[in-house]
Every structure is written in C-alpha cells, then in structure tokens.
C-alpha cells in the first residue's frame, strides 16, 4: 500500500506504477461530463487545477439545516466519456491525477506520460466506503451545471484507489483486454 499526501507533486506521481494500491489524503475536485465539456469549450476554470486531482464523480449531496453541504454517496463514474477532453485538461490545467472507473484511452495515456499524470481507479459502486473518506466539503463551483455535475472541492483521508494507468505508458485496462480477448478466442 502506497500513500500520497497533499500537496501532490509531479515527482510523487511519477513514482506510481500500474497495480499500486494507493491511499490518497488531501484535496480532490470532482468534475465529470459537464465540467469537461465546459473546460474544453475554453471557459476559465473557477479553481486552479495545477497539481490537483480530478475525481470523475457526481455525488449525492445534502444540505443540512445550517446550510452546510454533506456528501452522502460518492463513487466514481465511467471515465471513458471524458476521453475526448481529458488530455487537454491534463495539458492545459496541469492536473496530476484523475480518479474514475473503467479506465481511459490512448489520448489520456499519452498525456499522462507526457505531462506527468496518473489514472487512479476507484471501486465503482462503492459510494459509501468512499464517501466515508471525505472529511469535509470545502467548496462548490459551477452549481448551475446541476449538483451531480458541479465541481465539489473535497478533503479526503485515506481514499482507496488502484493505479491502472501510470505515467510510463502502461495501462492495466489494455493488458486485461488483450488477455481476455485471447482467452475468449480459445473458448468460443
């Protein structure tokens, strides 16, 4: 089990390899379909994403009586939908990590290598386990995109993920796909 702690650095990210189980402590920003489209269209990000981690997640959120937000469920959403945009966000905004599920394609993998970023896979559907790791909700941006689509600034502790695409060009998703495709050929 490895750990990375805030503030995140390029060096720490470059040390991570496919297959590493990692616990993340520090800051995360959620961002999914609408946010990626928004940034892709050239709009300015409401937060500085340099050396930050983006989490593909549309959480279930509740406001308590004092007007404070609470995240009650927060698992990853399917990342491949951001494939057209992610490489650009890595390049232009300097993010060093993407958390999601299902992995991403070649453009993202190449950008991870070139600019120093990794793809962390969180366990899909594990919304409660992951929400428990959220220690505070520190900000809400682009609320007009709808609550699941907005950017939520979160502080997490020991957030469990697995590196499935590293900054050295390896993708576990490609590897498992090839193995399963070969296996299927023999079984069909």
């Amino acid at each position: 089990m490895k750990r990375i702690n805030y503030p995140f650095t390029q060096e720490a990210i470059r040390e991570l390899k496919v297959g590493d189980n990692v616990l993340i402590t520090g800051k995360l920003f959620t961002g999914r379909d609408a946010v990626h489209k928004y940034l892709h269209e050239g709009n300015k990000s409401p937060v500085n994403l340099k050396n930050q981690i983006i989490y593909h997640c549309g959480p279930v959120t509740l406001k308590d009586k004092l007007g404070k937000w609470r995240v009650t469920a927060a698992g990853p959403t399917t990342s491949i939908r951001e494939e057209p945009y992610q490489w650009e966000v890595i390049r232009d905004h300097g993010i060093v990590g993407v958390i999601g599920k299902g992995g991403m394609g070649k453009k993202t993998l190449d950008a991870c290598k070139e600019y120093g970023c990794v793809y962390f896979h969180a366990v899909g559907g594990a919304a409660q386990v992951l929400a428990e790791k959220i220690k505070s909700v520190d900000g809400l941006f682009l609320e007009n995109l709808g609550l699941p689509e907005a950017i939520w600034e979160l502080t997490v502790e020991d957030f469990p993920v697995v590196v499935t695409m590293d900054s050295h060009g390896r993708s576990l998703h490609d590897e498992v796909f090839k193995v399963s495709e070969e296996a299927l050929k023999k079984l069909l």
């Binding site: 559907g125 594990a126 699941p148 498992v176 299927l184």
Partner: protein, 312 residues
C-alpha cells in the same frame, strides 16, 4: 447475511417511516429506501461467494473487499449503495379494478420525497436543455410498467438501474457478419460474449446479464431488463436456455476480466435468458447489463396498502 437483512427490516419498524407505512405513499417510500440501500439477499450471497473465490492479496480481492464493506455500510447508514441511483423502474402486478392513475401519482410523490431524503440522487436531466429537474420526474421518468394478473394482491417491484451499466447494455441484429454470429443459439452465445468483452471495466463488474432473444427492438430490450427481476439462483424452465445461462457464467469467469476489470476470477455473477417471437426478417438479441450494485426489491401490499411481504 440473510439474518442480517431480516434484522434490519424488523429494526426499521421502529422508525417513523415504517410505523406510518399504512398508505401507498409510505409503503412506496419505504420500498425506494430499501432498494437504494440494501442489496437483495440472493445477490449478496453470490457476491460473498465471489469474494471468497478471488485469490488473497490481489487487486481483485481488494476490490471485492471494498464492495463487501460498502454493502455493510450502506445498510448500516441507510444511504445509497451507489451514488448513481439509476433509472427508477417500477413493475406492478395488480388485480382488475386497480387505479393505475392514482398509483402513478403516489409513485411520483414517493420519488420526490426519496430524492429530498437523499435515497435517490437528482438524476433526471432534460435531453434537450441539459437541465436537471432536481426531483427525478420528467418525460420517461419514472418508468412504470403495469401488468394485470389474476391474483387479488398488488405486487410492486422496483429496480434502480445505473447509467454505467446501462451504457454497456447492447442490442445485436443477427446475422452479425463481423462476429460471425448466425441466427441460432450459437450466434446468440457469440454476441453475448462480445458484449461481456466490451463491457469490461465499464459497468462495475462483476455483473449480471439479462438477455432476450427475439422481439422487436423496444420490447426485446425491455424483456431483457425484466429478466433481472428473476432470482439470481433460478434457472430458465427451458433446458436449452438453462444450459446456456450456466455456461455463459462459467465461461465468462474464465476470461480473466475480474471485478472492475482489474483481472481476476469473477466477471459475471449470473445470466438470465428468455425469448420472444420475432418477425421472419428480424433476429435481435438484447443484453441488459446490471452492475454488482444490483438494486431491486419488491413488496406485496396488504389491504390497507401496508407492506405485507418483501419479495426478495
């Protein structure tokens, strides 16, 4: 696990929600809450078996451990298992002289209340404007299927089907030249495995397949989804389909896709297949993929619309 769930259900009798469940609205709200927060017993059993099957200290075992912890935590906190609380699909079997319109109103009321309470996420978005209705109502939402039956009682089943797994659901039109899949069970088998291969990593596996052979495009998909209402340990009454159901699961679990597509032993938890007649010109195979966060529950309503019995 079976015991645990029972205990929880009894335990909930004390909650104000359960105490007042003497109206359609209360019973429906309770049904939504249970569906969103607790994996049905038949599915839990298979998930726990899958956890044992994975080799210790692998990424697959790690993922299954987190899944187990998540099931326990969601149940304990009565909060959604997964943040994507999915398309809200109701299946209602009712006797004659049943007021569907009044029932639909109560379903909608219960959905709005469940969204406010956080059992459902604000999940209904206009396809034209992108606007989120905020209450999970809108054209096509919820999806309610009424069916009249001969029995005197009203059975209400609810499935919450997430977007990730819906996105990897698929429909094939046979013959499929690229896959060399013809219009027979062999061809059906080929397209099922194509869907499994392509779904890897994306639909939060290990998953369950509902399959329909035949029908028109729309009915075929709907019927495939309805297969997911079957108990996970049942078998098709047709021996050919029962054999195929079993073989698909066994073979899929030899592909090394594993939980979340991390590699590993369990790719599928189950496969349920049925058929509909088709036109001579068409041969559709529809595959509805359900993630491990398999949320479906059902109730039988009593005379006063109270929950008389849980169906899963």
């Amino acid at each position: 696990m079976a015991k645990k769930i029972k205990a929880k259900k009894n335990g909930q009798k004390k909650s104000p929600l359960k105490k007042t469940s003497s109206s359609q609205f209360d019973s429906l709200l309770q049904l939504i809450r249970m569906t969103s927060t607790i994996i049905p017993d038949d599915v839990q059993r298979v998930i726990l078996k899958a956890l044992e099957a994975e080799e210790k200290n692998t990424t697959a075992a790690y993922a299954m451990d987190i899944i187990k912890a998540n099931m326990e935590l969601a149940q304990k906190k009565s909060q959604p298992l997964c943040q994507d609380t999915g398309t809200v699909l109701f299946y209602i079997n009712h006797p004659k002289n049943f007021d569907q319109m009044a029932f639909t109103k109560n379903v909608e009321k219960a959905i709005v209340a469940a969204t406010k309470k956080g059992y459902l996420r604000q999940n209904s978005v206009s396809s034209l404007t992108g606007e989120n209705s905020g209450v999970n109502l809108g054209p096509g939402h919820p999806s309610i299927h009424y069916h009249q039956h001969k029995k005197e009682m009203v059975e209400v089943r609810l499935m919450l089907k997430g977007g990730g797994c819906e996105n990897v659901s698929a429909q094939y039109s046979l013959p499929d030249v690229t896959l060399e899949a013809g219009r027979d069970l062999k061809g059906v088998r080929k397209v099922i495995f194509d869907a499994i291969l392509k779904a890897q990593g994306k639909g939060c596996g290990p998953g369950v397949l509902g399959v329909c052979i035949g029908g028109d495009r729309a009915h075929s998909h709907a019927h495939a989804k309805e297969q997911l209402l079957r108990f996970l340990d049942d078998k098709s009454p047709l021996s050919d389909l029962a054999k195929l159901e079993e073989e698909v699961v066994m073979t899929a679990n030899k592909l090394g896709i594993g939980p979340m597509g991390f590699g590993g032993k369990t790719t599928l938890l189950g496969c349920k297949i049925d058929h509909l007649n088709r036109l001579p010109a068409s041969f559709f195979v529809s595959i509805s993929y359900m993630c491990w966060a398999f949320r479906r529950q059902g109730i039988v309503l009593g005379k006063k619309d109270e929950i008389k019995k849980w169906l899963y």
